[in-house]
Symmetry: C2
Subunit: 260 residues, 2 copies
C-alpha cells in the first residue's frame, strides 16, 4: 500500500491508532509491547484488532524498503478504521487498514527545553491514553513550544494537572522523591514509561504515580522525558527557567534498558 | 486526486480541516460561508489558506463526478496539512492538500433522540471550535449514543457546560427563553448556528449565548439540533426522557433559510 483512498476514516476523521517503534541494526525494539498496545487500543475504540504477525511483517518490510535495516530508524505502524460512509458513524463491519512506514531517527543529543502549553489533554476521552490519528492537539501544543523557542510542550489536563508532553511521558524528581503522572490524568500509556515503572521496585526506586498541578513540575529539581525513540532525555529548562540534569535520565534509561 | 500518500499529515496526525456542504439541484448552499470558515480555520492552525476558487471548483467537480448534481447531496471538502516528515512538527513550508468528495444526503425525517456523552469537548484547544480531521472524540461520543439507542450525543466541555453535539449545534427553549452555548464553551462555529443568531434580532427573537451546565439542557422544554445538512432538527428525547417539539425547529430553520 502506498496511498489510502479519500474515504478512509483515518484520513477523514482521525479514526485510528499508530505506534512508533525504534529499530536499530534491523531489530524492532519491544515490537511485542507495541503490538499489544495497538491491539488493546483497538478494543477501547471498538475496532477489530490487527493480525499481529501481519503487522510485524509490515514493519520489517517498511524498514527494508526504506533501506534502513542497518540504521537507527523509526518505524511507524498505522491502523485506520478503514473506509467508511459519510458522517461520523462507522460502517456496521469496519475493515481496518494497516500500513507501516520508516524513517531515520537519530538520537537527540541535547537536553530538551520545555514549556507548559495552553492546549490541554482531554482526559475525559479514552483517546487521551492512546496514540490515535486525532493528534492535532499535540501538534498545536508543539507549535506553542516552537513559538516559545522550546523543544517540547508539557500538556496539562482539563483539571490543570500535569499529563504528558506532546510526544513523550514525563518523570520528575523533587528532593529524593520521584513522580510521574497517573494514566487517569489523560496520559499516553507509554512503553518506556511502563517499563520504568515495572523495573523500579526491584531497583529500590519508588516512583509515585500522581495527579499533580503544574506547580509541582515547576518545583522539580530534575525533569526527564521518555518515549520509544528518545529513550530517556534530560530537560534543561522549563518555561525558560534552567534545570540541571543530575543523572536521572541515565538512571531511568537503565531501568528501561529492555525496551531501548 | 483519488488517494493520499501515507505521509499525509491529515492521515497520520489529523492535521487539517474539513467542511460539509449541502448541495441540492446542483447548487452548493452557503459555499462562500463554508470556504470563509475553512480559510479562518487555516489561520488558527497556522496553515496556508486554500485558493477558494479552486476549492469551489473541486466541490462542483465532486458533485458531478458522483452523478449527484441533481440530488440532495453532501459535499465534503477536506484540507490536510500536506506531506510531512516524521514526528509532530510540520515542515517549514507546509503544502496543504485539498480534495472534495460527495455522497447523497437524504434529510432526516424523525426527530433525534439525544444522550449526554461521557466524552467531553476540550475547550482549551482551538481545535474545539473547528471542523478538524482530529474528530475521534466526536466519533466516540456518537458511539456512546448508538450504544444507548440514541441518534446523537451532547458533548459537555471540561467544566461540565453544554457545548454541542457530535455533528450539530444545540439550541433550547426553557419557558419563553432561548439559549445556545457560547463558542468559548468549545463549540463548533456552525454556519447554521451563525445564521440563526444573525437573523434572530430582526425577527424579534432573543437567543442567549451561554455557559450552561447539563442540568439546564435537562430542564429544557424543547431542544433543536442544527447543522448544514439537517438544517434544524427537533429532539424527541434526552437521556431517554421524552420531549415534545413545539415548532422551535421550524422557527429556527426559518431564520436560517438563507443557508438551508
Amino acid at each position: 500500500m502506498d496511498a489510502v483512498p479519500l474515504d478512509d476514516r483515518g484520513l477523514t476523521l482521525g479514526d485510528g491508532l499508530f505506534e512508533t517503534i525504534l529499530a536499530h541494526g534491523g531489530m524492532l525494539v519491544a515490537v511485542d509491547a507495541h503490538l499489544r498496545r495497538m491491539v488493546a487500543g483497538c478494543e477501547v475504540l471498538g475496532l477489530p484488532a490487527p493480525d499481529v504477525r501481519q503487522a510485524d511483517r509490515l514493519c520489517r518490510e517498511a524498514l527494508e524498503r526504506a533501506g534502513l535495516a542497518g540504521a537507527r530508524a523509526a518505524v511507524r505502524l498505522t491502523l485506520t478504521a478503514g473506509s467508511g460512509g459519510r458522517g461520523l458513524d462507522r460502517p456496521a463491519q469496519p475493515r481496518p487498514r494497516l500500513f507501516a512506514t520508516s524513517a531515520s531517527a537519530p538520537a537527540p543529543v541535547q537536553p530538551a527545553r520545555l514549556i507548559v502549553a495552553g492546549t490541554r489533554r482531554n482526559e475525559t476521552s479514552p483517546a487521551s491514553r492512546l496514540k490515535t490519528l486525532s493528534y492535532l492537539d499535540n501538534v498545536l501544543a508543539r507549535r506553542e513550544a516552537a513559538a516559545a523557542g522550546a523543544d517540547e510542550a508539557v500538556m496539562l489536563n482539563s483539571r490543570g494537572d500535569v499529563a504528558c508532553a506532546g510526544a513523550a511521558n514525563l518523570f520528575w524528581r523533587t528532593g529524593e522523591r520521584l513522580f510521574t503522572p497517573a494514566l487517569a490524568c489523560g496520559v499516553l500509556d507509554g512503553i518506556v514509561r511502563g517499563a520504568i515503572l515495572a523495573a523500579a521496585p526491584a531497583a529500590g526506586l519508588a516512583i509515585e504515580e500522581v495527579a499533580a498541578p503544574a506547580s509541582s513540575l515547576e518545583a522539580a529539581d530534575e525533569i526527564v522525558l521518555t518515549n520509544s525513540l528518545i529513550g530517556a532525555r534530560p530537560v534543561s529548562a522549563l518555561n525558560g527557567i534552567g534545570l540541571s540534569p543530575r543523572g536521572l535520565a541515565e538512571r531511568l534509561a537503565g531501568l528501561a534498558a529492555g525496551v531501548l
